[in-house]
Symmetry: C2
Subunit: 229 residues, 2 copies
Amino acid sequence: MSERVARGTGEPHLAEKVYNKLCQDLQDGLYAPGAKLILRDVAAEFGASLTPVRDALNRLVGERVLEMGSNRTISVPIPLAAEVREIRRIRMELEGFAAAEAASKGSAGEFADIRVDCDAYAHARRAGDARRMLEANRDFHFKVYAAARMPFLLEMIKGLWLRNGPLQYLLSRSATAPLERSDDHHGAVMRALDERDPEAARQGIRNDIDYATNDIILALAELREKSLA
Amino acid sequence: MSERVARGTGEPHLAEKVYNKLCQDLQDGLYAPGAKLILRDVAAEFGASLTPVRDALNRLVGERVLEMGSNRTISVPIPLAAEVREIRRIRMELEGFAAAEAASKGSAGEFADIRVDCDAYAHARRAGDARRMLEANRDFHFKVYAAARMPFLLEMIKGLWLRNGPLQYLLSRSATAPLERSDDHHGAVMRALDERDPEAARQGIRNDIDYATNDIILALAELREKSLA
DNA sequence: TGTCAACTGTTGATATAACAAAATCCAAGG
DNA sequence: CCTTGGATTTTGTTATATCAACAGTTGACA
């Protein structure tokens, strides 16, 4: 039953596989906020023992993607609206900063690549394809941030996104799911990049985050209301 | 040999004790950058088994305070100068933002409390007491950030500080240890808070971080030079 | 019928054993 | 003196057993 292990190579061990899969699923909004992650259940899912699962979960707790309750239960956080608002402000600072840097330091090639996702987003929205919208939106944002050439900043932003991945779960099930219309903001960012105008890029991203978060806050209120019923 | 465990209460379990102690020691610069953390050694130090130590270390890895090498060895990161510079810029954004918020939202009582640490810092510097300087400096900064009333932001900033805690290890052993003279910047922040001038507070903190990081970069260069010898 | 205590299953915490990859060491050979 | 090859030790990985806290259930008794 003991799995072959590879150390030293880039080959992922079991703990890392579990970690990666959980990240993926969290990002894709497959876990509801509040969902508990039972060690033995997750272990069974992967056909693994507790140890690698503990490793993965503890790492996620360190990243604040999961939280450990006072009873030591690990679960997907249900942020308070105030917390979502706080994270929105932090994201506006950090991602705005990254966009401004990108406008200064990005290459024309990168910008062309970014435009593809910008168009893909608009196209997907017109087609009403929610999944593609999500994907294109994410690619658009992260390609902008990558153009800032600040790897650690990119990591931090990824962490913030992962953190509200589960909230997209809500969004995707929300009655009022508004299919956010970020086209204008994305377009503004795109123009700012081409014109190498850092402040305009910053402001475009800030607006995008500002508006998009409103939907999340609404969905969250809806969840709370439902959980009282 | 099995330790009594308390679940549900706020009482820390073994893994958490290990985690807290490591945080403390890292923050105090007791670990050199590049130091390896051997599972069994740490476990022996705490008279514990591997499991709780794995828990603590994995969490620290998640927080990017420690890093896992390709051979799965966990160690204190030795950042490249470029990384230190990147983190400096991120800190300037984030901590500058927090200071600006503090100027808007902090209470007069908080400001009075902050002034104590500001004075303590100046006093410790004149007395040449390096340890007290460090302490007063940290208290000063974090009290400012706490006044912004953004708990998650505070967490993130703590993470960034923890991350270059080990670099203070270098500083404390550096031949050119410059005993940074942050008095002016601290004073500027202090004035900005009292006058409720967010932009001045932001700029004061930004300057402080900017200058203070230079010392770290110098010490880092010194380390690299020494490690080549 | 309502209440409470004992029982039982669940779940996280810890310790430990077995294993494999890396690292280290040491001796033989060039 | 340096290299090289294998033996030995170190060290991370995984699985597993045991224990204590917790939750839910059942059943006895008032």
